[in-house]
């Protein structure tokens, strides 16, 4: 089985995995970072969203062999020392219900604000519609993104 050296949250990991193994399962089952969630396995729900060099990707649709030396950020590494602005806004608005989709939502929203510090509602629709929330927290997500944008 091939071995891959990947960079996750600033740390190097050597993993032995078949080339087709999705990054999602490498993170969850080989490295033990379970914050990234499985929801559909076919790039439909966004629960598995991580960032690759800062851009949001569906880790269930990305084979380990394609990761290369790009740096991976997961929910566990998205903030250093406390919560980031998005997470703070999320807590203040009490966005989570069951919480299962929220790591993916936070990763998508953090990437959005990095790219576009002042998103409109239409920008939010565009950036966040790949992330399903079965509990229906969308309204608070929208509000929290605006709050995080204001606080910069």
């Amino acid at each position: 089985m091939p071995t891959y050296a990947i960079r996750v949250n600033g740390e190097r990991h050597q993993v032995e995995a078949p080339a087709e193994m999705p990054l999602l399962w490498v993170l969850r089952d080989l490295i033990g970072l379970t914050g990234t969630k499985y929801g559909c396995g076919r790039s439909q729900c966004g629960a598995c969203t991580v960032q690759l060099d800062g851009s949001p990707v569906r880790s269930c649709g990305l084979r380990i062999s394609r990761v290369g030396d790009r740096s991976i950020t997961t929910i566990e590494g998205v903030s250093v020392g406390g919560l980031n602005a998005v997470q703070r806004a999320w807590v203040a608005a009490e966005v989570p219900q069951c919480g299962y989709c929220q790591p993916g939502q936070v990763m998508a929203a953090t990437a959005l604000l990095t790219e576009n510090p002042n998103p409109t509602d239409a920008d939010i629709d565009e950036a966040m519609s790949g992330n399903i929330c079965r509990c229906g927290t969308y309204q608070r997500i929208r509000q929290a993104i605006h709050t995080a944008a204001e606080e910069g």
């Binding site: 379970t34 969630k37 499985y38 929801g39 919480g99 079965r134 509990c135 229906g136 927290t137």
Partner: protein, 716 residues
């Protein structure tokens, strides 16, 4: 089997002293075997009584409150301890909320369904627990300060003697309080004395849910555990005829392929290898169920032709309809729905010779525990069932089938195993919200509804009352939302014809009303039109006996300025329901955009009685609207030749951010006992939307999900 005894004072003192200086308190709730008695628990958890709340006050003042219900987003780890802490006058910042493991009796009924975590017995039991602890602390304080109890008050974790300016923290009094008798009927606060109940205290689990630290069932990691999935029959109710496992075993990482009751478990070093292994399995399934969705519709249609068992009857609807100059008739239909919880079914089990440990995202902790005991043959006390966070519940997690998978697989491989269903397995092995139909007839005269009949055809779901005309009796869930209609109608008949289609069915958020309210509230709009009366007025006329419902309807009409101007190209509709102790009315504003219904705004007014946490209530109501809209716009499981067609979110769609309307929620102030919050806002949003579609396009939607005709889609 368990050692239950009512504690007299001496036993209590002894056990209290054994608690290591702290105060341990449990309480039963009304309706349980020991209606109003209180007891305590020994520190090692050995049970001496059947309480439904478990409080521990340590000598440093820290307070631990166990939450017996499961959290699936409804915030019970915050709201239930709030109730205890409020009656106790505790310092909320010193409260730690702990998820309770399953226990046959310690926490009362742990099944978390029917919007029942707060309402019903739970609320009173938790209040009594808090109030009893408070009285014991006051008594201990009176002794310590040598003053009469009447001169003491409590606030934020202290007993205070105003006159002398002295006060003692609860922690300092814990040991002394533990020596005192538990009051039989402690005095409860009046609602105006609440300090926590009704306030938006920060929820205890918001932070772990945004950092990825919250542990869901699928996140459990046990040393040495393997990962598994289960290939299940493609045919509903089917079984395995033959399999060739060679290709599955050849997948790198696959360790075992074992037959279990529900199918074939593929056990591997990681979840992905297990999924790949299951895909590589060559299985031949057999089963005798060959129906398709169209056959099921035909079957239900035939049932509508003859009278069913009478579920509710007032006046003489048959005669009144026969005598009416004109009647309105319509047949409505709703499809099967999958739960599609965000976290697929999963469970982790470790079975050893003398014990079994489970980690389950379950709404039914006691069911998980007893299921494991049954399968392993172990006594119930040898089964530990931990309750994790649940990635949605929706009723799906009240069944223990996924627990069975994990226990059987763990027994087969002899080590800890986590079984995770793939999304596809989850969607195809659900217990579906039933497909059903209603045929309505109504007669209006002079602007009023004089006669109404509804014949419900659909599968039974749980509680069936025996007897009744038409045979088979009335299934309460199948007719819920029709029978529970609150309109005053002089002649009314509801009957029920049982459909025996072999599709597994189960409880789905709001259960009966999820479909029935869509059908009822749409037909009521048809009747309003026939009567020539505004749909709001028409409903208000018939709610004279239900002031709370009438009020909610008036509030929502005010919020939306019903009757005022509606933006061009938009239409509005209204719906109302009383469900599981909550009353919810909604108005939806829609347009038709590129042939699709788009919902722009929703106004929602609710009366849920006394609320515990306003932020949670708002979230539950808004989230329920998303559930209802998803159902109205997309929700449909179809069956083809005995198999479920849909498999994942590409063909079983969910409302997404871009489809989210602006939602305004108003919860009316109420001192009535708490009602349900998690479900009542689901049922009435679909009819509000379809009634709005009618107002805009003139097209009456009688079947969900909404599919517009070409005329309506193109704006006529």
């Amino acid at each position: 089997m368990t050692n239950v005894q009512k504690l007299d004072r001496r036993e209590f003192v002894k056990l209290g002293a054994a608690a290591g200086g702290g105060l341990l308190l449990g309480v039963s709730f009304p309706g349980s075997a020991r209606a109003d008695a209180l007891g305590i628990l020994t520190p090692d958890g050995a049970e001496v009584f059947h309480p439904n709340a478990f409080i521990r006050l340590d000598t440093d003042g820290s307070l631990t409150i166990w939450c017996g219900k499961a959290d699936m987003g409804q915030g019970v780890r915050t709201s239930l301890p709030m109730i205890v802490a409020d009656e106790m006058d505790a310092d909320w910042s010193r409260v730690t909320s702990v998820q309770a493991d399953a226990h046959p009796s310690k926490y009362g009924r742990q099944m978390t369904v029917g919007s029942s975590s707060v309402r019903g017995g739970g609320w009173m039991g938790l209040r009594q627990a808090g109030a009893a602890a408070r009285e014991m602390l006051v008594a201990a304080g009176a002794a310590a300060l040598a003053v009469p109890r009447s001169e003491l008050r409590t606030e934020s974790g202290s007993v205070i003697h105003e006159r002398s300016g002295r006060s003692l923290g609860y922690g300092e009094l814990a040991s002394a309080a533990a020596e005192l008798p538990v009051p039989e009927s402690p005095r409860l606060k009046s609602p105006d004395q609440f300090t926590l109940i009704g306030t938006p205290v920060p929820q205890v689990d918001s932070t772990p849910k945004v950092t990825g630290e919250a542990t869901f069932g699928i996140d459990v990691r046990v040393p040495g555990m393997l990962f598994a999935t289960v290939a299940k029959p493609m045919i509903l109710g089917g079984s395995l005829e033959r399999m060739d496992e060679a290709a599955a075993r050849a997948v790198p990482g696959v360790r075992h392929v074992v037959r279990i009751s529900s199918g074939v478990a593929v056990v591997a070093d990681n979840t992905w290898a297990a999924f790949e292994g299951a895909n590589a399995l060559e299985c031949q399934w057999t089963g005798d169920f060959t129906m398709s969705s169209l056959d099921i519709t035909r079957h239900n249609e035939r049932l509508l032709e003859s009278a069913g068992a009478i579920a509710r009857e007032e006046g003489n609807a048959g005669a009144a309809l026969a005598a009416a100059a004109e009647t309105v008739e319509a047949t409505y239909e709703v499809p099967y729905l999958a739960h599609a919880t965000m976290e697929p079914m999963n469970c982790t089990a470790h079975v050893q010779a003398d014990r079994c440990e489970l980690w389950a995202p379950t709404q039914n902790p006691q069911g998980a525990q007893s299921t494991a005991a049954r399968l392993t043959g172990l006594p119930i006390e040898s089964v530990t069932a931990h309750v994790t966070y649940l990635g949605c519940g929706w009723g799906r997690r009240s069944r223990p089938d996924f627990v069975e998978d994990a226990v059987e697989t763990a027994m087969a491989v002899g080590g800890p195993v986590q079984v995770v269903w793939s999304r596809e397995e989850d969607m195809r092995n659900d217990q579906y919200r039933p497909a059903s139909m209603i045929r309505f007839r109504g007669a209006v005269a002079g602007g009023r509804l004089g006669a109404f009949s509804a014949r419900v055809a659909g599968p039974p779901l749980g509680v069936t009352d025996g007897g009744g005309r038409g045979g088979g009796g009335v299934d309460r869930n199948a007719v819920d939302g029709v029978v529970s209609m609150t309109y005053t109608i002089p002649n009314l008949l509801v009957d029920y014809s049982r459909s025996n289609v072999q599709v597994p069915t189960g409880y789905w958020r709001s259960v009966g009303p999820s479909g029935n309210t869509f059908m009822v509230e749409s037909f009521i709009d048809e009747l309003a039109l026939a009567a020539g009366v505004d749909p709001l007025e028409f409903r208000l006329q018939m709610l004279g006996d239900h002031p709370r419902m009438k009020h909610v309807l008036e509030v929502v009409a005010d919020m939306a300025d019903w009757g005022g101007s509606v933006p061009a190209g938009r239409g509005r509709g209204i719906g109302i329901v009383e469900d599981k102790g909550g009353i919810v009315a909604q108005i939806a504003e829609v347009s038709v955009d590129e042939g699709e219904v788009r919902v722009h705004r929703v106004w929602c007014a609710a009366d849920c009685g006394q609320i515990i946490h306003p932020g949670i209530v708002d979230a539950q109501l808004t989230g329920s609207i998303v559930t209802g809209l998803t159902m109205a716009l997309y929700g449909e499981i179809t069956i083809e030749n005995g198999r479920v067609v849909q498999s994942n979110f590409h063909d079983y769609q969910m409302l997404r951010m871009r489809g989210m309307p602006r939602v305004a929620v108003h919860v009316v102030d109420s001192r009535e006992d708490p009602g349900g919050v998690g479900e009542p806002a689901v049922p009435a949003i679909a009819p509000a939307v379809t009634n709005a579609v009618f107002a805009l396009t003139g097209e009456r939607i009688r079947k969900l999900p909404i599919r517009l005709s070409q005329e309506a889609a193109s704006g006529r």
